[in-house]
């Protein structure tokens, strides 16, 4: 294979996943929590595609495309929830959203 081995891609993927997890844990704005979730999903996608290339089996790419569709659905529902929260004048702060009742 030309260029880096699968190990290098896995290192990038795991660091990316950790950065996303850090964002989900640290940030308070639900918008940035959603953006960090996207980073976590992309770290997992990179690992899937790296292993697909390593095994010579395109099923990993199929899985990555399915993850992309699920991520798009998740963004639709998450952004809908955030817009509904802001319309009800609830604080856009995940530390202060502690009850399920609106």
């Amino acid at each position: 294979m030309m260029g880096p081995e699968v190990t290098w891609y896995l290192i990038v993927a795991s660091i990316l996943f950790t950065i996303g997890a850090l964002g989900v844990l640290v940030r308070r704005s639900p918008l940035i929590v959603l953006l960090s979730l996207e980073i976590m999903l992309n770290g997992a996608n990179l690992a899937l595609i790296a292993f697909a290339r390593h095994q010579g089996d395109a099923d990993g790419q199929i899985f990555a495309l399915t993850v992309m569709a699920v991520a798009a659905s998740e963004v639709v529902v998450g952004l809908g929830l955030i817009v509904a929260m802001s319309r009800r004048r609830l604080p856009l702060d995940v530390d202060r959203m502690t009850t399920l009742r609106g």
Binding site: I19, G23, R27, R28, L35, N45, Q61, I62, L79, V83
Partner: protein, 182 residues
């Protein structure tokens, strides 16, 4: 090492560092608008990495669906809500942030140990692939033969998400009317 190999390494390093740098930028920027723009850079550099892994169709879908459609929706919502900045690192780190950084570090160690134990000795032998690996034709064939069920379930998931988005919007509109009546 021939010239082509060195070129691939250079492109890989540029894409990987852009990817990690823009990921850190997403987490650290105070303004959500800048975070979303940094995420677009992250997705674009990931598409370059996908191309190096000969996943052409996934790279194209990444740029079109993620960096295009999903991020435009994000930017619209951020514009609608107004870019409220929360200063994440103001006033020194709190105990919560220290605990979060420790948890993320533990997660990284856990991933490395798990992958290393499970697959550490099998990461060297690389499979050889044909020229059509990862092409739209190959992906389409796999989606309509071996993975037909996943394909159909994906369409149902997207439909449910669209209906859920409409219902969430309708609920908050009804709430607006109730507030106006009071």
């Amino acid at each position: 090492m021939d010239v082509g190999n060195i070129l691939v390494w250079i492109v890989w390093f540029a894409a990987a560092f852009a990817c990690l740098g823009s990921g850190i930028a997403v987490v650290t920027f105070a303004n959500p608008f800048y975070s979303a723009l940094a995420l677009i850079g992250n997705l674009a550099s990931l598409a370059v990495l996908y191309l190096l892994l000969s996943a052409e169709f996934v790279a194209a879908a990444q740029v079109l669906v993620y960096a295009g459609a999903v991020m435009v929706m994000f930017l619209f919502v951020i514009g609608y809500l107004g870019g409220r900045a929360d200063a994440p690192w103001a006033g020194g780190p709190s105990w919560q942030q220290v605990a979060a950084i420790c948890a993320a570090g533990a997660l990284l160690v856990e991933i490395v140990v798990a992958v290393g134990l499970k697959a550490g000795d099998r990461l060297d032998d690389e499979a050889t692939i044909g020229a059509s690996f990862g092409s739209p034709q190959e992906i389409g064939r796999l989606f309509l033969t071996n993975n037909l069920l996943a394909f159909e379930i994906t369409s149902i998931v997207l439909l449910v998400a669209a209906v859920g988005g409409v219902i969430l919007g309708a609920h908050s509109r009804r709430f607006d009317r109730e507030v106006a009546r009071r």
